[in-house]
């Protein structure tokens, strides 16, 4: 199981839950499974080509997946995924 942290903006989709446990062997699988469990995530997280929208940042244990293998980044049990809006800072 992977822990997924949900930002405030998307908690309307999870009945207010800020953290969920989801199965999947890659970041992409977990995010698709997240949409299966709580409909609405996919259209918010992914663009038309299936990649992450440009203002959606996804981290695995504090590392931006763009420094890893993106949505193909493999997961080991116990890791945490954070979904974070990119619009902050500076």
């Amino acid at each position: 199981m992977t822990t997924v942290r949900i930002p405030a903006q998307l908690r309307t989709l999870t009945a207010g839950a800020g953290e969920l446990s989801i199965d999947g062997s890659t970041v992409g699988e977990v995010l698709v499974a997240l949409d299966g469990a709580h409909a609405g995530f996919a259209e918010r997280l992914f663009d038309e080509s299936g990649g992450l929208r440009r203002f959606v940042n996804v981290f695995v244990d504090e590392e931006d997946v763009r420094f890893l293998d993106g949505l193909a980044t493999p997961l080991t049990p116990g890791q945490t995924i954070s979904i974070v809006p990119a619009v902050a800072g500076g």
């Binding site: 203002f55 940042n57 800072g89 500076g90």
Partner: protein, 420 residues
Amino acid sequence: MDFVSGLRCRECGRGYPAEALHVCDFCFGPLEVTYDYEKIASVVTRERIEAGPRSIWRYADLLPVHDAAPVDLGAGFTPLVRADRLASELGLGELWIKDDTANPTGSFKDRVVSVALTKARQLGFKVAACASTGNLANSVAAHAARAGMDSIVLIPHDLERAKVTMTAVYGGTLVAVEGSYDDVNRLCAELTSEQPDWAFVNVNVRTYYAEGSKTLAFEVAEQLGWQAPDHVVVPIGSGSQLTKVAKGFRELWQVGLLDEEPSVRVSGAQAEGCSPVATAFAEGTDAIRPVKPNTIAKSLAIGNPADGWYALDAIRSSGGSCASVTDAEVLDGIGLLARTEGIFAETAGGVTIATLAKLAAQGAIRADERVVAMVTGHGLKTAEALTGVVGPTATIAPTLESFGDALGDQLNTIRSQRSS
């Protein structure tokens, strides 16, 4: 009363009320303040502005918050200095330095924080917070103290000593995070979800905060006699300042404060050790790849710039350019500005001046242009970057003989310069 009509997503266009919102719930795009420009145009005049306070608040009609007593330490209306000696070294014609080192806490961040905390207070927030590379930390801690608000400031653990002291002295909570600025920023974005009662100036209040940077453009135009320059050079950290400077000139035209439609080329300056926008510009792509920063220009060390896309767009659509400079060039830039114009800039200012020099040498900035370079932070903040670079000409015993021995030759040179 202000002239804000609401907030709108820059990506998908969805509308939102003017509350503490910064991200579109649907696509995560940034929210932008929208104004009733017709109404602004019907009240704003040059005379009305010129009769206002000598601070950013003289432009209140074009800011996202009005308040009879804003959270204010006197940010803005900093000197615009004609820089002929620097211009002649660089082969340029009419060059001006916007000297934002003169702000209350020594950087342009006072502009954005004064706006952000004034709005935050109106929205009912009691706690001011931020993720910072240093300058914002200084400004948030100071303005929160001024407003009687609590402050919670998060910084990377390896900041310059002066920036840590200049934050801690105001008595708020200061947390040093073992990580880069991008780590601090992610942590704050997550904290915002858990602590909705805190006004993170550059997270949940960012929509308002960012608008404060427009005042740089407003002041430059007013100080040039209500004319826009031909070319501005702006440092890029998150990309917000550059984007808002470009917007500022457009707004002045939109509300009728300029006689001629501005055509300002906007160029960006980055340090080579953190140049995601300059790299995308050079490669001609829209994709801004995040980087792990490694530069002495820590205030610009944002590897994942939130407004990078928009900065790139503002540069390209205005016919501007973008370049990056090495740390050695940054130090040269600091020295060059100090030596020719008597202005001591922090490392980010060194980035701006070194990039100005580089773009001038490339011909991207021309001698027939009226050019303004934004120098956005004071050198004392990053004095340690100059350790071993500048220092006493000589260290001597307190005797005439020792003075003569150490400086004899140099004195002859100085004397001959005076008599020539």
